[in-house]
Symmetry: D2
Subunit: 336 residues, 4 copies
Amino acid sequence: MSSALRIALIGTGRIGKVHAANIASCADTELVVVADPMAESAEDVVQRFGGRATEDALAALDRDLVDAVVVASPTPTHIELIGACIDRGIPVLSEKPIDLDMGRVEALRSRVERAVSAVAIGFNQRFDPAIAEVHRRVVAGEIGGIEQLAITSRDPGPPPAAYIAISGGIFRDMTIHDFDLARFFVGEIEEVTAVGSCLFDAGAREHDDFDTVAVTLKARTGAIVTITNSRHSSFGYDQRIEAFGSEGLLSVENVPASHVNVSNATHSGARGPVIEQFLERYANAYARELDAFVALVRKGESSSPTFNDGWAAQVVAEAAHQSARSGRTVRTDEVI
Amino acid sequence: MSSALRIALIGTGRIGKVHAANIASCADTELVVVADPMAESAEDVVQRFGGRATEDALAALDRDLVDAVVVASPTPTHIELIGACIDRGIPVLSEKPIDLDMGRVEALRSRVERAVSAVAIGFNQRFDPAIAEVHRRVVAGEIGGIEQLAITSRDPGPPPAAYIAISGGIFRDMTIHDFDLARFFVGEIEEVTAVGSCLFDAGAREHDDFDTVAVTLKARTGAIVTITNSRHSSFGYDQRIEAFGSEGLLSVENVPASHVNVSNATHSGARGPVIEQFLERYANAYARELDAFVALVRKGESSSPTFNDGWAAQVVAEAAHQSARSGRTVRTDEVI
Amino acid sequence: MSSALRIALIGTGRIGKVHAANIASCADTELVVVADPMAESAEDVVQRFGGRATEDALAALDRDLVDAVVVASPTPTHIELIGACIDRGIPVLSEKPIDLDMGRVEALRSRVERAVSAVAIGFNQRFDPAIAEVHRRVVAGEIGGIEQLAITSRDPGPPPAAYIAISGGIFRDMTIHDFDLARFFVGEIEEVTAVGSCLFDAGAREHDDFDTVAVTLKARTGAIVTITNSRHSSFGYDQRIEAFGSEGLLSVENVPASHVNVSNATHSGARGPVIEQFLERYANAYARELDAFVALVRKGESSSPTFNDGWAAQVVAEAAHQSARSGRTVRTDEVI
Amino acid sequence: MSSALRIALIGTGRIGKVHAANIASCADTELVVVADPMAESAEDVVQRFGGRATEDALAALDRDLVDAVVVASPTPTHIELIGACIDRGIPVLSEKPIDLDMGRVEALRSRVERAVSAVAIGFNQRFDPAIAEVHRRVVAGEIGGIEQLAITSRDPGPPPAAYIAISGGIFRDMTIHDFDLARFFVGEIEEVTAVGSCLFDAGAREHDDFDTVAVTLKARTGAIVTITNSRHSSFGYDQRIEAFGSEGLLSVENVPASHVNVSNATHSGARGPVIEQFLERYANAYARELDAFVALVRKGESSSPTFNDGWAAQVVAEAAHQSARSGRTVRTDEVI
């Protein structure tokens, strides 16, 4: 494998296209297969980024022709595709969540543990330069042990009602990223307390979901994590983290869409709105996620979130889902 | 009452001295009595700010000589002093909390409801210029309805263990300010979920208290409030609020101790630490609190927090105390 | 002089009133005489801050009754009043400028050099907490030697045309503060280059003055100072300084009128306008200026700007005035 | 020309490589020729970005094979290469400066005026997103007419002495960018006043150059421009602009190298140092500069700086050079 890693991409939706562009522009990867049941979409990606198009993902997973797989297809297909990669011994990077059914995730888990090839889960936010920098500085001891972690995540606007219907609910769909970040910073989570409201989104109301939530996690270390989510934000994609330790506070601020300030009769130091779309906000994160996956495949380096990370974040999501509905703190070991 | 309001100050500890200075410098108030069982302390205040000193607070409450009373004595004396003021028909501004025993607070409550003279409770943070500005702009509709409120409050360092022993615990002593602010912004609170850890303070550990907590409140409106407290902060007194509404986010930032920035090989735009002491941070707030109390006495204006506000914040504190120990959401109507 | 310093205040205009309030509230000073030819104005100050009123300033300068004098009367009276204080051996703090006629300033200068009592000039900005902090940190070597200094000073709006008529022009009236700050930070100034425009103010145009100027100073050390002035500013009183040294940049930012930020569909991190009035912006500076003067009188401490500082700043102003009209760099030794 | 624009790149130094990468990644351009007398360097660029390598730039300028030329070779070659493009009718984008000898620039100027093909000059900073945004908002009238413009530009460190020897001096080499920006914002410049010091750089001292300068420009509109340059900066590449108008202030801040803040016992809101290298700081600017050049070639759109812009900025540089040495304001019409 001294030449570029031959990668098969499965799924060519919004995130699939991001992966395709990154695979094409990374010096160490080559896009060889693009699979999507919608032939036209696969063809379009092939035109722009190379490889050959196919409608049959499973048939494309040939270990002689493919060195690694990136799965960006709809959630219900993940289990089968990850399983097929394991069977063939091909390393795979799969988008989250693994599956909405915890039983199916559990079943796959034991197969992954025995697998010889790597399985990575696409929690790209770990690779955001600012978040990664905070993590690195925390690990280096700059602020002492983390005592509190505050994560704010608000989307520009709610998804379509049809999406909410199949999303598994806000905790499994949106907060899942924050659950992974919580584990990234404070380790294993023991207790989960979630509160939700439905204040503005008809789609959420229709499907008995929340559009506004707060989740409190207690880690094994005693550290307390506070997560705040909203399905809308008038000022753009609101993505902030504060790690509070005994020696200081490290925080990731929102990324302003421009570096121009204005002062006038009504404002001082005003900037334009923050970056609005997650693809733009986390563009670097997706690229670095791919780099980490390549390093995993090439050298066995382990900065990629593992299948176990994917499973553990879903356990927290499950507990949050139960907590918000039962009005009590749910221990993660209750839902395993 | 065309001349200055004659005020009796009861208690000359740290906060009592702040009130004394404000009473002396306010054009519309005059310090006429300073009561403290520690005669020396009362004398010292009289030397600096005027009035006569006494060790007997109750004897000083003479309606012919005193137009209003400010109570800054230890918590266990509040009930009796407020009651005495009511009996004599003298308006009173009392420091919080009313009492650590909710039964005694309840008992006083019905007397206050029938009282002819005003009772105000010293939640000074409502009068902080920045917090008051956010409230005014929220009321004016600038950000639409509040959907989420995040309050961060961290003290520079923990109090002595002896103080914790009699404080009633962190929720009744420290978070109580945040509970009042929560009600100030989102109205009545229905559900309270609290999580606590004891991570660094031996005094808290000794008295079975927390030094690190997170509380989630759900208001009758559905708005969700997140409160984060710590008994220490390496970078000074950390006091921030974010009000998130459908149309925008209004936030109160920490107040830096200076307006000097430095950029060098390791930092850009760095300032020195934030203002460290609550007396300095909220100096304006105490002065405006007194102004509001004067307006209440003079004209019946109602911006001062009422006895009912004091009671309601304590109900939330009570619920938080129970929630953190039971691991379940506690409704405020359970503890009334 | 173990009791409070007995101070005579001469002049009760806008700045005179600031001094009166500070003299009254400082524990170590007492206002004993208030002189103003407008008897009513003097009486009004006496009512609020104490002392006795008089219309005759010179008669009030009795060394047995007065320990120190603060001069805040119109510029043309400064020379005579400072001279009278010297003759009587009474320390004096005089507002700037000393006089618009450099010949008269020179004449007084030799008298001041032989005087036994102190003469201080009211360049209050040196005492602004942020400016003083930058100076202290520069002196401590934090940023190495200063290589460039940038001063931005813009007033909220132009003064009345009648004031401009007698002001001596923008350099002698407004930039004079910046010239003093320049000397405070980089020492003696050797070369002055000034450029001016009249862009918006009819009063300035009428009196052949500028409303918009830039001045470049070269210090004996080789450091280069850039001063930017405007007679108006839509966003409030614009007062900033940047000291650039080999090891870093220290800057004084504008002071926002509130600590509230707003983020919405058009802005992120926007604050309200900056503090608008110089009396409010430099309130602390005036109080500390008085403290320094008291220390000068009491202990001979020398942090107050001296008569020589006042003279030297006016020399720079004179050079700037000539430079802007001649289109060439003017050396300060040409105008002495 | 419905297919991609075939571009010849001349010069493969640091900036040449930036152009090569942009030409290769832009959908509407194709790198067809890479010319450099250092064959190895040209080959290396061809390997990475396509085209064929040659040592003979002039021979490569074949109108049948090349649709446009980008000149990034050493300054002394610019005149001949621009002239050759004009002769052949091939549009050319040349790096600045045109030539250090104003006589040669003048001579070429009349040829450019009669040319049928476009000549653009590489003042890339106009295309920086933040600077372009400020320009757009100024043109839209957001802050009224510009009255003052302040440009701060400091390099991380001085260039080698050998470079300074052939640079033409700091005004022609470094400030030239700021002169172009000044013209971009306030139009024609009438008066130039420059002051310089040599404070730290032995190379500058050796070649009788400055390392620290301030330049004041007066525009025909009366607007005053202040430019501050230093050949070093401890905190990275310091690039800021403030446009002050009657209705407000628009400013371009430095770009921090990360979005992580830290607060601890000594700092609050501290960020890491600013972006250090101009290639990184202005990466977007180079890409947009190419886009504008393509639009110029394709559609005759005129947002690219013209030859006349290049000439006019050099006239200002010439005036600054003379002013700093003569100690007087130099009018631009004196040096034409």
